[in-house]
């Protein structure tokens, strides 16, 4: 509960703390973040790599959002804008995503392997592997990163499996999505 109160003190976060009932707030969020990102969205790409025997996924998250979440969890001010800090906070980032991303491949829950990340402008690109021994027929995901802080957070995963492109979309109200190939 401690960090809930911390959030309230942070001006940036308070904007996200109101429900969708006030449409002006929606507009406000668009307008307030004119130059930053307007929407709470992460985009991931996932492919099967037969040589490695793993699903390989890159995920892009806005650094400022991620800093806010990690700071709240760690109870200290986490800054990710320098490369050195990514190594320093590797464990923290890895633990966070391990808890926020659950992947079922053909019915089996497979723990993810967080390899590391790099900075690309205002986004953090995460490298994640999910070890599997064959190209899957069905993938189910529960991807709730950042949703504890941003009600409107959307986590979108583009998959390319067996030559087919499909997309999973996870939001607070529908945390699990699955797809068959």
């Amino acid at each position: 509960m401690k960090y809930i109160f911390l959030f309230l003190l942070m001006p940036f976060l308070s904007q996200a703390s109101y429900g969708n009932h006030d449409a002006d707030e929606l507009r406000f969020r668009e307008s307030v973040n004119i130059t930053a990102h307007k929407y709470y969205l992460s985009v991931s790409n996932l492919k099967y790599n037969a040589k490695v025997g793993a699903l390989q996924m890159t995920s892009r998250f806005f650094i400022d959002d991620l800093e806010d979440v990690l700071s709240a969890r760690a109870d200290e001010n986490i800054i990710l804008t320098e490369d050195g800090n990514l190594t320093k906070h590797k464990q923290l980032i890895g633990d966070y995503f391990t808890s926020r991303l659950r992947v079922k491949v053909d019915g089996d829950l497979i723990p993810i392997d967080y390899l590391g990340s790099e900075i690309d402008n205002d986004q953090l690109v995460l490298y994640i592997e999910i070890p599997v021994d064959r190209e899957p027929l069905e993938i189910e995901m529960r991807f709730t990163a950042l949703m504890e802080l941003f009600e409107d957070q959307k986590n979108m995963v583009h998959l390319k499996i067996r030559g087919e492109r499909k997309t999973l979309l996870m939001v607070a109200k529908k945390k699990i999505d699955s797809v068959k190939f």
């Binding site: 307030v32 004119i34 930053a36 307007k38 890159t58 009600e151 979108m156 997309t167």
Partner: protein, 765 residues
């Protein structure tokens, strides 16, 4: 790959474009009957027919008209109870050829009324979690009692007029219908509860500081006339809260009465400065009018903080503002305000760049706000027209970015200790540029924001990008440690994640903003980027800038529609851009191109297989064919290693003879005979048509870039083959090497396939 059957006719035209292709239809399914679906067809179906009001050139037509609404207002602020009382006289002029049976007036504050329908259009259901304040706001507290209390609607003689309120719109009945060319004058008296914009959100309201004093940023505070025009009739589309405004031009004379220790400013010229400024403040203001490099502080932080420590004046003071040629009016007032200003040369005129902020904004605001305003005025004036008003004010409002004529609210606040990150600083400079930039779009180029969000937000985001880059160049201290201003929007690559996204959550730019997902990317990012691409990659700066200025100047102080913009850009540049508008603005298509294959050819004097097949099919004896120049594909049956890198005239004696017979020695010496011939097949999995920017790297390390206009896709939307004849061997080919076209997948853009750095393996080490 289809067999290419060819007959090589010209001896010298050693070019693949000379190949007559005869596609084999047999394996393909029979094509469906269809309408014209060519991506280069004109936008006749989408556009309305030009008329006397709006010309086919995109300019206002000979019968173009617009209505006029003039306002005289007396406003009183009850600071203690955060309540506003107002009385206005509206003079409405009917310049249309139509007889108007009634008038429509906008009551935007009613969006905050207890019976507002705004909450009822949110179909999100029960949120699974909420922060305490949000939960309390939704389930525990009484709804905020906002909305206009309309006390009187009177004609000029003081007789009550009949009116009807439908949510945020009010229909006013006139004693008799308003004929073309006639005016109607009427009065409205009203009051309303001002909302706390920090807690309840909103583009207008007050912020309350821990010392109990407030700062007001006030807009949509008076009943405002709707637009009536040739396109929509009355634009009386309801205000739901997120969508913005459509407003006619007119003049404003506004007297605002506030506690006497407040600092106030707003749209228009302050006509009683001597009554409301102290003599010291006047002296500082006059100095600011002569200072062009650094802002001059007019009311200091110390003075503001001193007032903030007192209980607050009960005596009142009236500030008088007068504005012409504006579509709206906004104002701000607080006893906690610092104000600074400096003069900016725009054309041959001086404009005052002004900033107003509470001490909480410092040390950030005193450094950058006024300079950002100045840069905006300069950059936008260069891209459009000279700023026509006498001042531009940037007001600091926590969390807000919102624009009104000559005045706007901007966020960007250091923490309690006065520290701020680069993100806060650039966020603040960018929002100031953006909101001050809105003076041009839509305050002066007065588009209908409610219907076409992109017409102001998209155009503004584009010019914002230009101004941000200028800011970095002209104020290097503002980007200390960086090479260029870190613009978030503008560069093509930045829009890729949006355009590559799930189509269920993407709408064409030509959609009403209220009805789109990812509003920011839809109405700001994508159109802003599209215009940047149009400028840098499709049209070039010279053609684009001339056309963009033409549009801005044609529609300055008028009401343009999207078509007026599209048409003017073509009218002023002699470029057919219908394909660009169609793809970028009317669809959700994305750009994805890739190199499918690269074939190398060499010249041979010996008849190749293609010719043999051709002759055989037609029963033509081989000896009937004269000496031709044959192209042999590397790796084909006819290919021999020694063909590589030979000059065609060395190989084909008839070619040599032709050259000797037809060219002088001098001409022959100047000839650059190509030795390497390439056919590059570009495939396009994406629906968008875009130019092919292709970079060739030669064996000696030099590079050459060619741009094939988008029209290269006019006959085949999926795949085209380019030819390249060179003296030097090509070792690498890249499509869109500088990421200018928002190609969503660049992994297929290189030949040979780039040995990708395997980041996953790298990360494991």
């Amino acid at each position: 790959m289809k067999a290419i059957k060819l007959l090589f006719i010209s001896m010298l035209m050693v070019s693949f474009s000379g190949f007559a292709q005869e596609a084999e239809q047999a394996e393909e399914p029979k094509a469906e009957e269809h309408y014209n679906i060519n991506k280069f067809r004109q936008l006749y179906q989408e556009f309305s027919t030009p008329n006397q009001y709006r010309s086919a050139s995109g300019a206002p037509g000979p019968k173009y008209y617009q209505q006029r609404a003039d306002y005289e207002m007396d406003i009183r602020l009850d600071d203690e109870n955060h309540h506003i009382y107002g009385y206005e006289t509206i003079t409405y002029t009917n310049n249309s050829p139509d007889v108007l049976d009634y008038l429509w007036v906008q009551l935007d504050q009613n969006m905050r009324a207890k019976d507002s329908k705004t909450p009822l259009i949110e179909g999100g259901g029960v949120a699974p979690f909420a922060q305490p304040a949000g939960f309390a706001g939704e389930y525990l507290s009484e709804p905020f009692d906002g909305g206009f209390n309309i006390k009187k609607v009177l004609d000029s003689k003081g007789n009550p007029l009949k009116y009807m309120i439908n949510q945020t719109m009010m229909r006013v009945e006139m004693p008799k219908a308003l004929a073309p060319g006639k005016k109607f004058e009427f009065d409205i008296e009203w009051d309303y509860n001002v909302n706390n914009h920090v807690e309840g959100r909103g583009r207008s309201g007050y912020e309350e500081f821990p010392d109990g004093h407030r700062a007001y940023v006030i807009a949509q505070f008076y009943p405002r006339m709707c637009v009536y025009n040739d396109v929509e009739g009355w634009q009386n589309s309801q205000f739901w809260g997120r969508d913005e405004f459509a407003l006619p031009f007119g003049s404003f004379e506004v007297n605002i009465t506030v506690p006497e220790d407040h600092w106030l400013d707003g749209t228009g010229k302050l006509t009683n400065r001597k009554d409301v400024y102290s003599s010291e403040e006047l002296r500082r203001y006059e100095m600011a009018q002569r200072t062009y490099d650094e802002p001059v502080v007019i009311r200091t932080q110390q003075e503001a903080e001193k007032l903030a420590m007192m209980p607050g004046a009960t005596k009142m003071k009236t500030w008088k503002l007068k504005a012409d040629y504006v579509r709206d009016f906004g104002w701000t007032s607080s006893r906690r305000y610092i104000a600074d200003a400096m003069a900016v040369k725009v054309g041959d005129k001086d404009v005052m760049a002004v900033s107003i902020y509470a001490p909480e904004g410092n040390p950030l605001w005193e450094q950058w706000s006024t300079k950002a305003v100045a840069q905006t005025l300069k950059s936008y004036s260069r891209m459009t027209f000279d700023y026509p008003y006498h001042k531009a004010i940037s007001v600091h409002a926590k969390n807000q970015g919102m624009e009104y004529p000559m005045i706007c609210w901007n966020y960007g606040r250091p923490d309690a200790e006065g520290n701020y990150s680069d993100r806060v600083k650039f966020g603040m400079i960018s929002v100031i540029i953006h909101e001050v930039g809105h003076n041009y779009f839509p305050m002066i180029v007065n588009s209908d924001e409610r219907q076409w969000t992109w017409m102001d937000e998209g155009l503004n985001t584009f010019v914002q990008y230009v101004a941000e880059q200028d800011m970095g160049e002209n104020y290097p201290a503002s980007i200390e440690g960086l090479d260029a201003y870190p613009s978030r929007r503008g560069p093509a690559a930045a829009i890729v994640p949006y355009m590559a996204g799930d189509q269920r959550y993407i709408a064409p730019i030509m959609s009403k903003g209220l009805n789109t997902y990812q509003f920011g990317s839809n109405a700001y990012g994508k159109p802003g980027t599209a215009l940047n691409i149009l400028r840098e990659t499709v049209m070039g700066r010279e053609l684009f800038d001339y056309s963009f200025r033409t549009y801005s100047q044609r529609w300055m102080f008028k009401h343009p529609t999207p078509e007026d913009f599209f048409r003017t850009m073509e009218d002023a540049s002699a470029m057919d851009l219908d394909w660009f508008w169609r793809g970028w603005f009317y669809t959700t298509q994305f750009n994805d191109m890739g190199i499918k294959s690269v074939d190398k050819f060499y010249v041979s004097a010996d008849m190749n297989q293609e010719m043999k097949d051709y002759l055989e099919e037609r029963n033509i004896p081989k000896d009937r064919v004269p000496q031709l120049v044959y192209m042999v594909k590397e790796g084909s049956e006819d290919y021999k290693e020694e063909m590589k890198g030979k000059a065609p005239s060395e190989v084909v004696s008839d070619l040599k003879d032709y050259m000797m017979d037809n060219f002088t020695a001098e001409q022959r010496a100047a000839m650059k005979e190509p030795k390497y011939f390439y056919q590059i097949t570009v495939e396009k999995p994406g629906g968008l048509v875009m130019p092919i920017i292709i970079e060739y790297t030669y064996a000696d390390g030099t590079t050459e870039t060619a741009t094939h206009p988008a029209e290269i896709w006019r006959l085949n939307d999926k795949e085209v083959s380019l030819s390249k004849a060179t003296q030097k061997e090509i070792v690498g080919i890249v499509i869109d090497p500088k990421l200018e076209t928002a190609d969503i997948d660049t992994s297929n853009n290189s030949w040979p396939q780039e040995p990708k750095v395997d980041k996953f393996e790298e990360m494991k080490q």
